[in-house]
């Protein structure tokens, strides 16, 4: 044990402080690498298919990633707080079906959206509530809730498409100044809100604390449970907004609407530098992660890859990039993190 961290022990190349700066550098450069990857993919796709760079396609990409961005914003909060929710896809399915059915039956667009968002918040809260009361990890309870949400959605729609073409298009179809999709602006809003929460509010600081060391947080007078519940509520809110935007853009909903988005959202968050173990992360990383997802998806379309291959590629890419991000920045921390965790248990 050395009192002065600057003193180098004999036989050791670098002091601990140097080590830390290196980590910070890697951490920062992970975002840099992300951007680089995005540029590269864009350029290659652009060469193969010049249409990639047309305004209409760029707008298309922005529109495509809007919902993912909104959901991922909420997921960022949740993952930093040390929780996860893999039922967000099913949650979107259920809430958008409810919204669609309500709109179809003539209840106004506004009350329908509000109800749907409230339902999404409630659903997300249920995942957190069961996880806490049954002392089970939230990935398990959220796994179970996938069946519940999808089952209910199937039951209320009787499995059929709920179309509301032309009835609630404003949010999904509007383009500000005829270029910028409103949905994308909403997703920017979501990023900003989450950034604000994380950087400037008490709630934000608490999220980091409970995510990285719940024991220390609790002993410092922070209510871990309450903080996590709030994280679920916020995530649910963003899921609700996401459903609204999605429904408005597609103009139809079915129980499977939104399925698979959970993996993309988790992938985007983790690729953006937020570890699944929680306690760390920034929204800018998530934004870049979402962008990567959008660009890859669009690039695959542009290169006319068979949609099934697209699915395969996506799965591979998510695993690969998560593995890369773990290799590059968490390997060094893994041991101390693990032992700290063990000690908490």
């Amino acid at each position: 044990m050395q009192t002065n961290p600057n003193v180098k022990p004999p036989g050791v190349g670098s002091g601990t402080l140097v080590k830390n700066n290196k980590y910070q550098l890697i951490f920062r450069s992970q975002w840099f690498l992300l951007l680089l990857a995005e540029f590269l993919i864009a350029i290659i796709t652009g060469i193969v298919n010049p249409r990639f760079f047309t305004i209409s396609n760029v707008i298309n990409v922005l529109e495509q990633i809007a919902v993912l961005g909104i959901v991922s914003s909420g997921m960022t909060l949740l993952i930093i707080s040390g929780e996860i929710d893999i039922s967000v896809g099913a949650n979107i399915g259920l809430s958008s079906c409810v919204m669609a059915i309500m709109i179809k039956s003539g209840i106004g667009v506004f009350p329908s959206f509000v109800t749907g968002i409230a339902l999404a918040i409630f659903s997300s809260f249920l995942v957190g509530l069961t996880a806490h009361t049954f002392k089970a990890p939230s990935f398990i309870t959220s796994l179970a809730f996938i069946s519940v949400f999808q089952g209910i959605a199937l039951a209320i729609t009787k499995g059929s498409f709920q179309t509301i073409y032309g009835q609630a298009e404003t949010i999904g179809m509007t383009r500000l100044g005829n270029v910028l999709p409103l949905s994308f602006v909403i997703s920017l809003g979501a990023y900003l809100v989450v950034h604000f929460i994380l950087a400037y509010t008490k709630f934000g600081r608490r999220i980091y604390s409970v995510g990285s060391n719940p024991a220390a947080a609790y002993l410092s007078g922070i209510s871990v449970i309450k903080t996590k519940y709030y994280a679920f509520l916020f995530s649910g809110f963003f899921v609700g907004i996401g459903s609204m935007v999605l429904l408005s853009r597609i103009g139809a909903a079915q129980p499977s609407t939104g399925s698979g988005i959970e993996l993309k959202a988790i992938g985007a968050v983790v690729i953006g530098g937020t570890p699944l173990s929680g306690g760390k992360g920034r929204i800018i990383g998530t934004l870049l992660g979402v962008l990567l997802m959008g660009i890859i998806s669009n690039a695959l379309n542009m290169m006319r890859v068979n949609p099934y291959y697209q699915q395969v590629t996506f799965g591979l890419l998510i695993i690969a990039s998560l593995a890369m991000s773990i290799f590059s920045s968490y390997k060094g921390h893994a041991r101390s993190e693990k032992s700290t965790k063990k000690a908490i248990e």
Partner: protein
């Protein structure tokens, strides 16, 4: 020896057994058609597919792993089997290859998990997507039905499928109760670091457990395609959830280290009886799905409540 350890498993699973009896009593009273002998034959033959899959899931969960891709592995194997049958391969070879493909994907899962350190949840979710994609590619536009009789025999009626399932259970029960590989599963699931410090090759073992999970999914695919006499790329979706549910309801802890295949049988029967009984009572498939979700949550609850008592 095997039977005695099996018996012990049964004893520990009295609670689940009680649940099984209760739901059967309820269905006996309220669903007249449920009582028919033929219905029980159906239940048994249906239970074999889930049963075989759940054996593999038990091993994975025991070692504190998780495999959400087994449903998609089943799909992929089913579609592969379908294509091979169209190509007139001999039946034994097809079964062999099917098991091999299943074990292969399980191994891939295991390798990715231990090498990259990405959480099993994400890896197997990703694999689920990948395999669905592959299955669609493989199965697109193909007519995969009317299989040779020798193949159909594997899944028809209830005698042969139940025999196959029993064999799977006995082999895995022996593995868990009498071999190092099995003992290590409990140790790794209970406390991975202790296992490592005791000189157990944790990573190697984990890969094998995932391989077993995949292999059993492959076997389940054979039973299912043989029974239904067709295959397509929507097979097996959601099966991973049912399988996990059956295992947890049986009383194997989701957090690893506690459980066994004996109790999984009961869990499988509960799931199958529940599905059958609900449909005999006229509950639609969507509400069945909801109830499965709720049953899983209940099982998780019972699991944690019990762990609190014993630990």
């Amino acid at each position: 020896m095997v039977s005695s350890s099996l018996l012990k498993q049964f004893q520990r699973a009295t609670q689940a057994l009680l649940g099984l009896v209760t739901i059967n009593v309820i269905f006996f009273i309220f669903a007249p058609t449920y009582r028919a002998i033929s219905n029980f034959q159906t239940i048994f033959s249906q239970a074999t597919v889930l049963g075989v899959m759940a054996v593999g899931t038990t091993v994975v969960l025991l070692s504190a792993g998780l495999d959400l891709s087994v449903g998609s592995i089943l799909t992929f194997v089913a579609v592969s089997v379908g294509s091979m049958l169209n190509l007139q391969y001999p039946v034994w070879l097809i079964v062999f290859i099917a098991l091999g493909i299943g074990a292969f994907w399980g191994t891939v899962n295991g390798l990715i998990i231990v090498i990259t350190g990405v959480s099993p949840l994400i890896v197997t979710l990703g694999m689920m997507m990948i395999l669905r994609g592959f299955s669609e590619l493989l199965g697109a536009g193909k007519d995969m039905s009317s299989f040779p009789r020798a193949f159909r025999a594997l899944g028809s009626g209830y005698f042969i499928p139940v025999l196959i399932m029993a064999a799977a259970y006995l082999v895995v029960a022996f593995m868990l109760g009498k071999t190092r590989l099995g003992f290590n599963a409990y140790a790794i699931g209970g406390n991975q670091e202790v296992a490592r410090l005791s000189g157990i090759r944790v990573n190697k073992c984990k890969v094998i457990y995932y391989a077993i999970g995949g292999l059993m999914a492959g076997l389940a695919a054979v039973l299912l395609t043989a029974r239904l006499n067709f295959a397509n790329s929507t097979f097996g979706q959601g099966m991973e959830m049912n399988s996990i549910a059956a295992v947890v309801i049986g009383g194997t802890s989701m957090s690893g280290g506690i459980g066994g295949v004996g109790r999984t049988i009961i869990g499988v029967l509960i799931m199958t009886c529940l599905a059958s009984g609900l449909s005999h009572m006229g509950v639609g498939s969507s509400w069945q799905r909801v109830s499965i979700g709720i049953v899983i949550i209940l099982a998780v609850w019972i699991d944690t409540a019990q762990r609190k008592r014993t630990l």
